[in-house]
């Protein structure tokens, strides 16, 4: 059995294909792009939505009550 398995070492393995590096870097760039888009969607976009939502809610509140947010917070 040992002799037989030793034949495994005799099986030739060629060089990596010449386009290996190019394909790897294309894949890496795709992966980094996806990662950055996910970071943007989970980090910056929710922050921006919350920021603008607060302004939109302020406009809605002013329309309904006639008072600015800071006016409502003033002590009587």
């Amino acid at each position: 059995m040992t002799d037989f398995l030793d034949q495994l070492a005799e099986m030739e393995v060629g060089e990596p294909p010449p386009e290996f590096d190019r394909r790897f870097h294309e894949r890496l760039n795709r992966s980094l792009t996806v990662q950055h888009v996910v970071d943007l969607l989970t980090g910056a976009v929710p922050w921006a939505v919350l920021l603008f939502l607060r302004a939109a809610l302020g406009v809605a509140a002013f329309s309904l009550t006639g008072k600015f947010e800071q006016d409502r917070r003033k002590p009587q």
Binding site: M1, T2, D3, Q7, M11, E12, P17, H25, R27, L32
Partner: protein
């Protein structure tokens, strides 16, 4: 700064500090490209799959470049990632091709590596024999006999103890011997060789 003089671990530490694939990571790819490719090709037996697997290995190394803790050598860590990636790919491939015959695929033979003719007494299809084994046992046999890793290296790569590694290889050899008695050696040797 001559990166060629740096150890693998120094390069890995520098790569972990890089924000993108900078010179240190590119240096690591250059250093391990051939060895990772060989492992992937040996384990997957197909040039296209081996290319995919090797790219996936380097991608994982890049994405997890900050996780190398130095508990083993960097080379061992790389080979361990390569082994896991290939095993995952083989499992995925076998699920996809469960009802297909690989040998019936057109052009399959022509994509296989050039193989020297086996001696008549051992004229069995070695690849087919290994296919009958459990995926991990097959990988261990290939890494030991084709790539020449010793038991300590294999144990570190496969994340097993040395004794478990020896046991698995010994059992895999016994399985092959019982399934293919014609492949048994004329003069039995120490199975722990």
């Amino acid at each position: 700064m001559d990166l060629a003089q740096w150890t693998d671990e120094q390069l890995a530490a520098a790569a972990a500090r890089e924000s993108s694939d900078g010179p240190a990571f590119v240096g690591l790819v250059d250093r391990f490209r051939q060895r990772v490719w060989r492992i992937c090709f040996r384990l997957l037996g197909h040039e296209e799959d081996a290319g995919d697997a090797a790219q996936e290995v380097f991608l994982r190394l890049f994405l997890h470049r900050g996780r190398f803790a130095g508990r083993s050598s960097y080379a061992t860590w790389v080979y361990s990632v390569a082994l896991r990636t290939c095993l995952e790919m083989r499992r995925g491939r076998s699920r996809r091709r469960r009802h297909e015959s690989v040998s019936a695929e057109p052009g399959w033979e022509s994509r296989q590596p050039a193989r020297p003719a086996a001696p008549p007494a051992l004229a069995l299809d070695l690849t087919a024999m290994l296919e009958t084994l459990d995926e991990e046992d097959r990988a261990l046999l290939i890494l030991k006999y084709a790539e020449g890793y010793d038991y300590e290296e294999l144990a570190a790569i496969a994340e097993l103890s040395v004794s478990a590694c020896k046991m698995r290889i010994s059992r895999a050899r016994e399985k092959l011997q019982s399934r293919y008695p014609e492949s048994a050696p004329q003069n039995p040797q120490d199975p722990q060789k």
